[in-house]
Symmetry: C2
Subunit: 350 residues, 2 copies
């Protein structure tokens, strides 16, 4: 059983995955070797995964057999596991909680060598429908308070299997990182009576310096305080706190946007490893005026170093205005002019 442990100083929860405990020799530092052998996510190997919880397949075919173009299964090695309650315990001064939750894998395609950046419009829409369907389904389970949909692409971004897949984790607690975002957005709303994400949209559409692409329903920006080179956020233009409230015409346009952005990253950054995460409101919340769901995409181009660990400050060597320029124009050449400078600078001396 995985175990949550609480750091007695900071109060940060860590998940200790006891069941697949890794030994020193399990940490391979070389680039991942060619992976051969059986892939549990390939068609024909349906019996190598836990039984599917959702699949889109040719009609008439039985569950857990070939003929699907998208399949969702519980993770065989879950970071969290569904149990009836949270067991809390103490070990002297230390606090432990059982790792309760659901952990599912969305197998995005039957094709082993496919990748998110390369899917056609139809397949991309199907993946987004699967995200929504599972979110709607798991929301009915009253034990869960938060749900994270995410994807790791490439071993350097933490993908342990090559076959393209996304993941969903549902948890009985709202994680600290999410709480901070919600609290920050609420603070902003109390001060301005406007959603901070709607304001970001408005300001970035005004200057266009950080806009990578937009369509009727979505915008992709390099955020002003990007932690990482080429960090990209995709935001719906219409205010909405919950991802699972997405509508059919929005799915079409979100699929277009994800294909555009991941395609641009693939071409400009040479198929980089990346993570993307769907940030959405806790499942127990109703409509929220101050929160706005969005997708954060982080290409893995730099290494976190001592300064970041020690201070929590990220050092980003690519200004987001330049990152947006490279992705927008699909070029690896710097702009001929000076670096784009933020407009309307008001200087105050502290």
């Amino acid at each position: 059983m995985p175990e949550f442990r609480k750091d007695p100083v900071i109060g940060r929860w860590v998940i200790i995955a006891k069941e697949r405990a890794k030994r020193p020799t399990d940490f391979v530092r070389q680039p991942a070797p060619e992976r051969t052998g059986m892939c549990p996510f390939c068609p024909g190997n349906e019996d190598k995964t836990p039984k599917e919880v959702l699949a889109y397949r040719e009609s008439g075919k039985p569950p857990n057999s070939k003929g699907w173009w998208l399949r969702v299964v519980p993770n065989k090695y879950p970071a969290l596991r569904v149990e009836d309650d949270l067991h809390r315990s103490g070990d002297g001064m230390y606090d432990i909680m059982q790792g309760t939750g659901a952990h599912e894998v969305i197998i995005e395609s039957p094709e082993h060598g496919a990748s998110f950046a390369m899917y056609d419009q139809r397949q991309t829409e199907e993946i987004l429908w699967a995200y929504r369907d599972r979110a709607v389904e798991l929301k009915k389970d009253a034990r869960f308070r938060y749900m994270l949909l995410f994807k790791n692409h490439g071993p350097q971004a933490g993908a342990s299997l090559d076959h393209p897949h996304s993941q969903l984790i549902a948890m009985p607690i709202v994680p600290k990182r999410v709480k901070e975002e919600l609290d920050g957005a609420e603070r902003y709303f109390r001060f301005k009576e406007r959603c901070v994400f709607c304001d970001i949209l408005r300001q970035d559409l005004l200057s266009m310096d950080r806009v990578i692409d937009e369509n009727e329903e979505f915008i992709a920006i390099a955020p002003f305080a990007s932690r990482f080179p080429f960090e990209t956020w995709v935001l719906p233009k219409k205010h909405e706190a919950h991802f699972d409230k997405i509508e059919k015409h929005q799915i079409v346009l979100l699929a277009q946007m994800m294909r555009t952005i991941l395609g641009k990253m693939h071409r400009v950054l040479d198929d980089p490893p990346y993570n993307f995460m769907i940030h959405t409101a806790p499942t127990t919340e109703g409509p929220l005026v101050h929160y706005h769901w969005h997708i954060e995409i982080i290409p893995k181009l730099t290494h976190t170093a001592g300064f970041e660990w020690g201070t929590g400050f990220y050092v980003n060597p690519t200004p987001p205005e330049q990152a947006a320029y490279y992705l927008r124009e699909e070029t690896t050449e710097a702009a001929g002019t000076e670096e784009p400078s933020p407009s309307n600078i008001v200087t105050l001396t502290a």
Copy 2:
């Protein structure tokens, strides 16, 4: 000039390093190629770095010439830069602050191919003296409120030059990550009237499950809520908030401990990339009853993935009790018995 930018949602400051702005082609994803050519940290190249601020060298030799066995210079490409004041400015809804601070490099040895895990006792002590000397000196500068000493070993841990070196950054603000640690420790003290780190020492010495090594003055543990496999903390046994208050006999024993731990990691984990950071109290604070300086060592064995970015929960696949066992015994074989189980478990059902 590097620039601090504040995320308008979370309030997190990010440093945008504008001067060495990296283009898409600058991100090399292959293992670092053999680095050839001139090393600015090698003896004979003293004119390739900014002028030294400290050096331990043969007596009679002039500054910025050969004959040193340790040398400290300002970073040629600083993440932060010494300026007279913090310029604060706004760009619409966004906040910007100038990247003011000092950024120095401690060149640990004249030998290009040396590494911290392999220094002799004498050289290790000299490095620790240099850390202390620079900390004492920079503390006199009233502009700084926090000072971080850290080391990146290996390109995967963010080291951009092979020649072994550590770094020091002094800042005019106390970073959020440090503030959280101080606040957590203070909260614990208010509740218990004991230092949380002293309590960790006591509890871990009682069970010994997570102790890797100890001597008269220092202890090395795999912390209870380790974020990463083989994460190790080195703590002084005597309560003290400030690293720069370290005494001569403690330097000898800390050098012994660092050689032991980094040597063990080198042997058991096959020279892993790692970061270490000295956590110490802000320079403006006097003696603190609730804070306790210590060193955190993080071997870089796993990749941060979407789940961590989305939730802030770390998933650690090596229980710290097992990590401590492997390092203590210097073995890569699992213990013959069951996994070490925490003693004195009190179970409460939430």
